[in-house]
């Protein structure tokens, strides 16, 4: 269809000047302690570790390394607050405190967005337009449930669990903190939360918000650390409920360590979602959906549409348009307002992605990357697609967690469905077709917890999120996200 002579030129002519978000209004302390019992305290071990800006490789701050003793301190504070002020308070007052968190986040939105991009590498446009507003909205949503729980469970009396131990990942740091803390508090629990080791800063700023909102001390405790700290939280005998978002590998470790205990748990793990485009789809919008599905947030999304299935009759057109669209994606400084794809979160993650790029090529797949420039310093990966792959390729089976898309064709609906389900994962899926009946048939039969039809990567506090199979157990968001934080008594 198209030839070299009808190639579009995206890289010459009018360019966009740098449009940096200013950082002169934000405050990042040189060092943060652990937020326990309403104040920042020094870690018992007196050890700290650094957090780095992945776009510049420069140190931003240092945060405390919480030991087992620190975890114990935090859990004790959470328990004391639970049996004390938090349980004694009326449910509507609890709601008011959570509303305060939401309101203050809205007031401090730009500072949070800027720090989120500095610490994690995601573009300021995303943290400003998606992460921070959604985080505030999450607190708003669950604040409203606090005094309404009896309506959510017909025939049952909802009762809080106690202390929730929560471990969150580095891809949506503040948003994940909101997803965990908001429902836990709304249901009357208290919290010990550990942010990811590469992205602790917005959690520390959230601790400041919680302090400024005057929540009773100990209701929310935020402690920094790495895998060991997380394990201490999971295994602490006085934690009643564990919530984890992260890799499937660690999720399984956690599930094993909780065996034999009576701790409730939810796990939100990895994915390798199928994004399925039928010939009767609105093609241009489907291409945009592919891009939204795998390239934004650098592909660091558990529900990313990382396996593309295109019906064969439109495959050439779709791939052609996708390549053109990739040329207009700007990879660069996360703080530049025009950046579409920011920095890869860490050196380790970049290494993982690059090893998969090599595996893909070694396996004989055809790799295509956009031609954009990337900065010198920092961790970067251009948007990448692989064609000439099948379900047997490792890059099609494994979760890469980067801006890397594996593309296959399919012929019939049944084939698309079979291949979509042919994976141990089951977090999400996408369906693109103009035909309504087909949408409902596909969503009925794809074995995944979230299905996007003619859209992708849409999130809302009212909408439940979570996986089938090895993508995890339990749901977050919506009415369905409450049950994980309650006992339902008869």
């Amino acid at each position: 269809m198209s030839t070299e002579s009808t190639k579009l030129a995206f890289n010459d002519g009018w360019q966009y000047a740098p449009a940096p978000e200013s950082t002169d209004h934000i405050r990042i302390d040189d060092q943060y302690g652990l937020f326990i019992n309403g104040e920042f305290v020094e870690p018992e071990s007196d050890r700290y570790f650094e957090t780095v800006n992945p776009a510049t490789e420069q140190t931003l701050s240092s945060v405390a390394l919480a030991s087992g003793a620190d975890v114990d301190r935090a859990v004790k504070a959470a328990r004391k607050a639970y049996s004390g002020a938090w349980s004694k308070m009326s449910a509507s007052d609890r709601g008011k405190y959570i509303y305060r968190i939401a309101r203050i986040l809205q007031e401090r939105a730009r500072e949070f967005a800027t720090i989120e991009s500095l610490d994690g590498g995601k573009p300021i446009r995303e943290s400003r337009d998606i992460d921070i507003p959604l985080a505030a909205a999450h607190f708003f949503y669950y604040a409203g449930w606090a005094d309404k729980l009896e309506y959510a469970f017909p025939g049952r009396r909802p009762v809080s669990l106690g202390v929730a131990g929560q471990i969150i990942p580095w891809n949506f740091p503040l948003l994940m903190a909101a997803w965990k803390i908001a429902p836990a508090l709304a249901c009357g629990n208290t919290v010990v939360l550990k942010p990811a080791e590469t992205t602790p800063l917005t959690a520390m700023k959230l601790a400041e918000v919680i302090r400024d909102a005057e929540l009773p001390p100990g209701v929310v405790n935020i402690i920094t650390g790495a895998g060991d700290t997380g394990a201490e939280i999971v295994n602490h005998p006085d934690v009643n409920k564990v919530a984890f978002t992260g890799s499937t590998e660690v999720g399984k470790i956690i599930q094993r360590s909780l065996a034999g205990t009576d701790k409730k748990y939810t796990l939100e793990l990895g994915g390798k979602a199928a994004n399925i485009i039928f010939a009767d789809a609105a093609i241009d919008e489907a291409v945009e959906g592919i891009v939204n599905g795998i390239f934004f947030n650098q592909g660091h999304v558990c529900c990313a549409g990382s396996r593309l299935f295109v019906q064969e009759s439109v495959a050439e057109e779709v791939v052609h348009k996708l390549r053109e669209r990739m040329e207009t994606l700007i990879v660069g400084d996360p703080l530049d307002k025009n950046t579409d794809i920011g920095a890869i979160n860490s050196a380790a993650q970049l290494e993982t992605i690059e090893s998969y790029l090599k595996i893909g090529q070694d396996e004989g797949a055809e790799m295509y990357q956009s031609s954009c420039s990337v900065p010198g310093q920092g961790y970067w990966c251009r948007p990448t697609i692989f064609t000439g792959v099948s379900q047997s390729n490792r890059i099609v089976q494994d979760e890469i967690f980067g801006p890397v898309l594996a593309i296959q064709t399919f012929r019939t609906l049944e084939e698309g469905l079979t291949k979509a389900n042919n994976t141990p994962y089951g977090l999400s899926g996408g369906v693109w077709t103009d035909k309504g009946a087909k949408i409902f048939k596909m969503t009925q039969q794809i074995r995944a917890g979230v299905i996007w039809a003619n859209t992708f990567n849409k999130f809302d506090p009212t909408s439940p999120f979570g996986g089938y199979k090895e993508s995890g157990v339990g749901r977050e968001g919506g009415l369905h996200g409450l049950g994980a934080y309650l006992k339902l008594e008869t």
């Binding site: 509507s92 709601g95 708003f140 449930w145 005094d147 309404k148």
Partner: protein, 290 residues
Amino acid sequence: MAGSTARVPVAKTYKIYIGGKFPRTESGRYFALNSSDGSVIANVCRGSRKDFRNSVVAARSAFGGWSAASAYLRGQILYRIAELLEGRNEQFVGELVLQGISRRKAKKEVEASIDRLIYYAGWSDKYQQIFSAVNPVSSAHFNFSVLEPTGVVSLLAPDESSLLGLVSNIAPIIVGGNTCVVLASEQLPLCAISFAEVLHASDVPGGVVNILTGYREELTDQFASHMDVNAVVFCDGDSEVARNVQEKAADNVKRVLARFDNDWTTDAGQSPYLINETQETKTTWHPIGS
């Protein structure tokens, strides 16, 4: 206050609130609200049928936008109304005291009104989740029932309450996406108009809430019979009143909601079922297949 240095205060004119503006009643008539010592607190607008007619036009015009607003936005606006009412806590306490309520009761009433708004703000994006359904029909169809706002609601606010009764009825109506025309308490009308000012300052689009003052006897029939009103809510009366409203409402099959026994001063006066009462249920079918 005695003394030659006492400042001369400026008396407030109480108008009505229609389409986001504060006009006087087109009839030019008024009734005096007196304090217990006989002095005149205010000349209150004696709202007319034309004021009511204009209000319904404004409410209908505002309905499209308000019902299409996201649940999140409506919740944010209700929360904002609560914030602004909290900010004017003292003003409203003073107004209640002026109308003969004890200071202690006035404080409780204002605080309860603020908390009630927060309560309903929290329902905006949840009532749909508890009252909607996906129905497992036996044919190959996806079938779902959702709630939609009924439209323009006329409300005769509780007469014995200047603020809390008013707020307790307006909130569930508008959080559900309806617009409304409200007749304030006849004996205690002032807080309704001041509340209109709070609404006006809270990003509530003009026409979503319209507030009139006036005589019950003159206006009840209008509230019950207007053909472009979808539901009528009334909070005082007896079986005679109820019968009259029902009869007038029948001309366009208005939804008739009598709320006689609600105790607005306790938690019994708030519930998602009050939202549900001004909602319609829409069920849609779609084939599942290829």
